[in-house]
Symmetry: C2
């Protein structure tokens, strides 16, 4: 009895979250309203409070579904596989998953990592230490990648929401950028503020930094105190 009833409720919850995610893609986070969601389910708004404590709990579950239910595809680093390519693939997959739902970055922003994400990070740390990383360096690398990912997708989706990328606003952008020659040249040569290239390149930068860090720390016994940025390079040029 207990089992049957609980599973019924769970199924209902899943159905609600699923509908909410579909609705999110249709109308965006701003207009994702309990009343609207309820209507979509053929129900009155307060009915949702039987299944969820409040709206935040629904949103939390939505982020968990986005983050975990999709894309746990990454297996541990294979013997002899390039950790750079492997890590890059993970980050790109994360971006792909985030971009598979409208406003997902704003939705996810500031949510605690769920079980699935913790397990993934644990596996990454294991793999990276196996190729020689200090576990702290590995953790900080993952943190950097994750911050970059979050920040990038956030701006990317915000631009999309504003309709940037439409050529209608391109002319306007050119006028604004006119007084800034370098910026202007860069924009023209790139083709938009948030191109694929910007993501790939930023990702590469961090991985390159991690590679340098790995080399420096495995070169000496305890890899610490090498790559400091603050004033350790004598000014040259």
């Amino acid at each position: 009895m207990n089992v049957v009833k609980l599973s019924t409720v769970a199924l209902e919850r899943d159905k609600i979250v699923e509908t909410a995610l579909r609705l999110l893609d249709e109308v965006g986070l701003e207009k994702l309203t309990l009343r609207r969601l309820a209507a979509e389910l053929g129900v009155q708004a307060p009915a949702l409070y039987w299944h969820f404590k409040n709206k935040q709990e629904l949103l939390d579950e939505m982020t968990e579904v986005i983050a975990v239910q999709k894309g746990p595809r990454l297996g541990p680093l294979a013997e002899g596989e390039s950790w750079e390519a492997w890590l890059a693939e993970w980050v790109k997959e994360q971006r792909r998953v985030l971009n598979s739902h409208r406003d997902s970055a704003r939705l996810t922003a500031g949510t605690h990592p769920g079980e699935g994400m913790l397990a993934t990070v644990e596996m990454i740390l294991g793999s990276l230490t196996r190729v020689g990383f200090d576990v702290v360096d590995a953790m900080w690398g993952v943190t950097a990648l994750s911050s970059f990912l979050g920040g990038f997708v956030l701006e990317e989706q915000a631009d999309r929401e504003r309709g940037v990328g439409d050529w209608s606003q391109f002319q306007e952008a050119v006028e604004i950028l006119a007084p800034y020659p370098h910026l202007c040249e860069a924009m023209i040569r790139i083709g938009g503020p948030q191109s694929e290239g910007a993501f790939e390149h930023g990702l590469t930068l961090i991985l390159e930094g991690m590679r340098a860090r790995l080399a420096a720390s495995s070169g000496r016994q305890e890899g610490h105190g090498d790559l400091e940025v603050e004033g350790d390079r004598p000014a040259a040029g």
Copy 2:
């Protein structure tokens, strides 16, 4: 006449924005309400619509004030100065400025860069090209730094808002992390998910990547196609 009246309005706008920023620090973004702000100014809510088209315009102006009015301290890269240290200082200053106001990251997230920010970026691009960067690489570097900064501070402030960092929740965190040995070790050796070290280190990674990119591109005539991550390392095993 015209001048006097316009400046009066401008002063009022400034006073409103200033009060709004103070109120933001007091009550947080969620409870920053037009009615509350108006009350703080000794005025009724609709009065604000004389000075601002809508709430978003007020928020936009708040972000512009945060981003520009504070911390335009960075001058162009001096002759012989280390560009790494110089850039690092800028990013750290940006973080300091963001963290000087509650919820500033969420406020800023998805706002178009204002005039001041454009000018700053232009100056950075100028300085970086002067030390040998291709303008596109410089732009992508700045983009990466900015995404990292935004993502990091967003999580950082979200944690703060949730009261993470309180030792009350530390025990709980330990229990959650128990099944993940690497994660656990990393956390213990770091001392929290969002430490100063994580920021400094992530920043260093990106700068290190930029340094490598600079070296690679100045080594050949046209620096392109060197640091690709996708599949250039043969997967084996």
